[in-house]
């Protein structure tokens, strides 16, 4: 029994270990000036998408382009450039595509405002629907004839 439990635990550990390996991000040998810069640069780089392997950020990706961009971000952060400058540098070369969070402009209005519009539309439809339902459930008056029949039925019981 004990050995079985051990085997299961070992199996879980192995699976976790392997998946850890699969998640490993590339390690660079870049030396930051200080830790704050490192933290900041990594955070910024995580918001930038690799143009080649499109579903990875540039920290995560192994591709040479991602490596270049990553290094560029690190160096620019160390050189004291602002986030805006760095983002501008990237988008002027690779377009808005590299931003994971799209900008709000005429091309992306539908993206940003669409959900709100749909929510309002849904709310409106629900509102109309509920109001209609409420009208339909209104109690109907029983006619005199029916009232009489009912009384007779109850009497004869």
């Amino acid at each position: 029994m004990k050995s079985r439990l051990f085997a299961i635990l070992a199996g879980i550990a192995l699976v976790l270990g392997v998946s850890q390996l699969a998640n490993a991000t590339p390690v660079d040998t870049y030396q930051f000036k200080n830790e704050a810069n490192q933290k900041h640069a990594m955070e910024l780089a995580r918001t930038l998408r690799c143009p080649q392997c499109q579903n990875q950020d540039i920290v995560d990706s192994n591709s040479p382009v991602a490596r270049d961009l990553r290094m560029e971000v690190y160096q620019m952060v160390d050189a004291g450039k602002s986030d805006d400058e760095i983002v501008q540098f990237m988008t002027s070369r690779y377009g808005d595509f590299v931003l994971y969070k799209p900008r709000l402009d005429s091309k992306t209005y539908i993206l940003w405002l669409g959900p709100i519009a749909l929510l309002l539309l849904g709310g409106l439809i629900a509102f109309i629907f509920i109001r209609k339902q409420r009208g339909a459930v209104a109690v109907e008056e029983i006619s005199d004839e029916d009232q009489q029949k009912l009384a007779e039925l109850l009497k004869n019981r």
Partner: protein, 184 residues
Amino acid sequence: MKKLVLFIPLVLFLVLGYFLYAGLYLHPKELDSALEGRPVPDFNLEKLEDPNVKITNHDLKGQVYIMNVWATWCPSCKYEHPYLLKLARQNIVPIYGINYRDEREAAVKELKFKGDPYAMNIYDKDGRLGLDLGVYGAPESFVVDHNGIIRYRYAGPIDMRTWNETIFPIIQKLKQEAVAGKTS
């Protein structure tokens, strides 16, 4: 009014269907180039064949040309290469090569054995020019006008179809612009 309401699901279905159908024909790998309409970035790099000769962006200016990013490690470049040779023989526009993140010897050797379609080859060892051009893979080609402005970027190997349908018409247009620009 009531009958109209019944059509709402159909309309929604059609709208959704349209977008999904259109989505089938999108190519997410093809990105808009941020550089179209902008000048070729400044560079000062060695010539591939001769490290002592420097090439700058000003050396290329003055006519319509193609910049072609290539490397020996890139299989699609090998596929594209014969077509570039053919274009070079037709002598329509000069093709300048940007040898991107490559080894000089391997690149020179390859051109020697397989033919050299390039009017000149720029050796971009560190990919710095590539970065400034927003290159994310090879091959990529840039069509540049006589003022040194990038007018079109094509990612992927040039073949007969893309040449005839897209690139050549653009070049013809730019050449006309160049002629008009010189006479006026």
